[in-house]
Subunit: 386 residues, 2 copies
């Protein structure tokens, strides 16, 4: 169902010839209203791609008619020329949709440092506008047009009992493989909502979903999550209801991104609880999630809690070795400053690994979603660009 | 030459039976004076091994008669029992050398979370005391007694024109492979020096050597660098001279540690200059050095400057995309916000990779010494403990 699931949206994915392979590489999502509220969250990287700089600007008015996305090139570190390319893309979409360029967000993903083939891209915009449709097939094509090293499209959809819904797609580079820049996601909803509420709901939903996905610590130059609201359902949910459904769809997409990330053989949840603050919990969980010795141990199905203890001990958070415990897949292997159950009690032979670290110094908690570090990751990332 | 190079030191390395393999696993270094000044720097990890807690305490008096080190077990996360084991080891050495336990530092390296086989270890202390000698062979055995996954011992020695010298050994886990906890190094000098000067000189020397080695971002529970001064040369160098020779020997050991680190196929220097502060330069260089996408690109001999730009953009430092440049093995690939020379200008086929990032916002600089991320690293670290 993806972005065409909610009422009031058309989408398309076409092969514009940006990718040499001939695969789909240009996606267009159009909001047919009656509303045009929109919100976005973007990479915190100082080096921002041209489309991020553009989309951040246009989002300041909290309204979007359309989003155009391309794979096959990130348009990052491309200087003023790259920014002009982004602007020309928005202008072209705006012209064909009879709107202003300021109503068109742009996203790009692919290799950093290369200019885009603009003739192919602009011609692709023509084709995409002609292919716009409300069908599930059009939504699927849109989800496919943004893929890079992803092995499959990621779509999610959820309907509220009151008759409104949220849909979306995502592609799985992002923090998963930021070189290819990037993690991109477009969400749609037919809820009736003003732009301020939509912005708050998006930030709250991504805070506990997209922000908690951390495969290799990277923050790409292009990371973007956009949400467009059409109001076509005629139903106005509460902010809490909207946040919850956005989070549900986002969580679904995040799990798909993790499962399909480069070389991953394990889905690892790192939950830190008993922390002095949520920031501490996130910091400790992230430090563990990014540690290569922890990640290689998981690849080896090895419940090596000593590596987890080593990793968390360097996190900038309130810690006390005497109060913390480490539990892996239900077995508490470290507690009260020393070894607890034997490591053989933790069975890591399956794909799911659940690590719970209780810091024992407070009441805050957070979960980071990560993977192992495998030969597949090294292979894909050492062989990609050359 | 190692620790027995300077006058006034005896050393030994014996097989105590701590390692099942029968390899050397217990090292003893004794300072025969006339001075007994000593200093140490230790891991900043919150989770500190028992020998680190002990050695930090005894170093508070700035004097050491001896250091005893074992491989085959880190004695970390072993609770009060583990601390008693460390204390008993120091007592045993002190008794045989007719001194106090407070004059004996202890270092351990190996798997975290396992108690040491104390009968074997204490019997090994007996053998080591009997084997103490001033010969290069004794120094080499001492360097071998601390090895874990290292493929060879690391020794270094430098003599000053004025007739005094610095020697030392190191072993290459540490930040290179902190699971095995740890990076350990013992330095000796026959310079005449008081404990305060020795402490300052050691901190200044390690700040630009051991502190700049970063293979996988780990900070082990056991990292320790100790220096012992015998005064046996009768020569009192200036603090600057002492710092310089300690840094020379430490730099030599760091290069050996990097070259022998797990799975490394590239020696990578990341130099950041034009930074607003040394802390900024270190932070940016370290963020690049720890980025898995950068490291896998190096493994693939790929001058992928886009990944370097992505990595540095998330460093907590003063950055301006318009003023920074990225140069790899002499070719400037990114400058003034966009692509510069073609990436083919950077030849990464050899083992040495030299990355220079000029931030263009200040006058500070720093270099971090790192490696690539290879299949060998994943293999060794996914297969080690189980």
């Amino acid at each position: 169902m993806t972005v065409t699931g909610p009422q009031g949206f058309r989408a398309a994915g076409v092969a514009a010839g940006i990718k040499a392979s001939g695969a789909l590489d240009l996606t267009l999502v159009v909001n047919d209203g009656p509303l045009d509220a929109a919100a976005g969250v973007f990479t915190r990287n100082v080096i921002k791609a041209a489309p991020v700089l553009w989309s951040q600007e246009v989002l300041k008015q909290g309204k979007l008619k359309a989003v155009v996305l391309n794979s096959g090139g990130a348009n990052a570190a491309t200087g003023p020329g790259g920014f002009q390319d982004t602007h020309a893309t928005a202008e072209k979409v705006a012209e064909l949709l009879d709107t202003g360029a300021i109503g068109v967000a742009v996203c790009s993903t692919g290799l950093i440092g290369e200019r885009l083939p603009m003739a192919a891209l602009l011609s692709g915009v023509d084709s995409a506008v002609k292919a716009l449709d409300t069908t599930p097939g059009a939504g699927l094509a849109a989800a496919e047009g943004v893929l890079t090293t992803d092995s499959k499209p990621k779509e999610a959809f959820a309907r509220h009992g009151n008759g409104w819904s949220v849909g979306g797609f995502a592609k799985g580079a992002g923090m998963l493989a930021p070189n290819l820049a990037t993690m991109l996601s477009v969400l749609t909803t037919d809820a009736v909502v003003d732009k301020e509420t939509l912005d708050r709901a998006l930030r709250a939903a991504t805070h506990v979903t997209f922000d908690r996905l951390d495969v290799d610590g990277g923050t790409s130059t292009n990371d973007t999550v956009l949400v467009l609201a059409s109001g076509a359902s005629g139903v106005e949910p509460s902010e809490a209801e909207l946040t919850e459904l956005l989070a549900t769809v986002s969580h679904d997409l995040v799990q798909q991104l993790r499962a399909d990330s480069e070389g991953a053989t394990k889905d690892v949840d790192i939950t830190v609880r008993g922390a002095a603050s949520e920031a501490d919990a996130i910091s400790v969980a992230r430090t563990i999630a990014e540690d290569n010795l922890v990640k290689t141990a998981f690849f080896g199905s090895d419940p090596n809690w000593g590596r987890i203890a080593m990793a968390l001990g360097r996190a900038p958070a309130r810690l006390d070795p005497e109060t913390l415990s480490i539990t892996i897949n239900g077995a508490t292997l470290f507690a009260a400053g020393t070894t607890a159950e034997d490591r053989s009690a933790a069975d890591l032979s399956g794909r799911a690994i659940d690590v719970v670290v209780d810091l024992g110094v407070g009441a805050s908690a957070a979960t980071i979603y990560t993977t192992d570090l495998s030969h597949g990751y090294v292979e894909e990332n050492s062989a990609y660009s050359s």
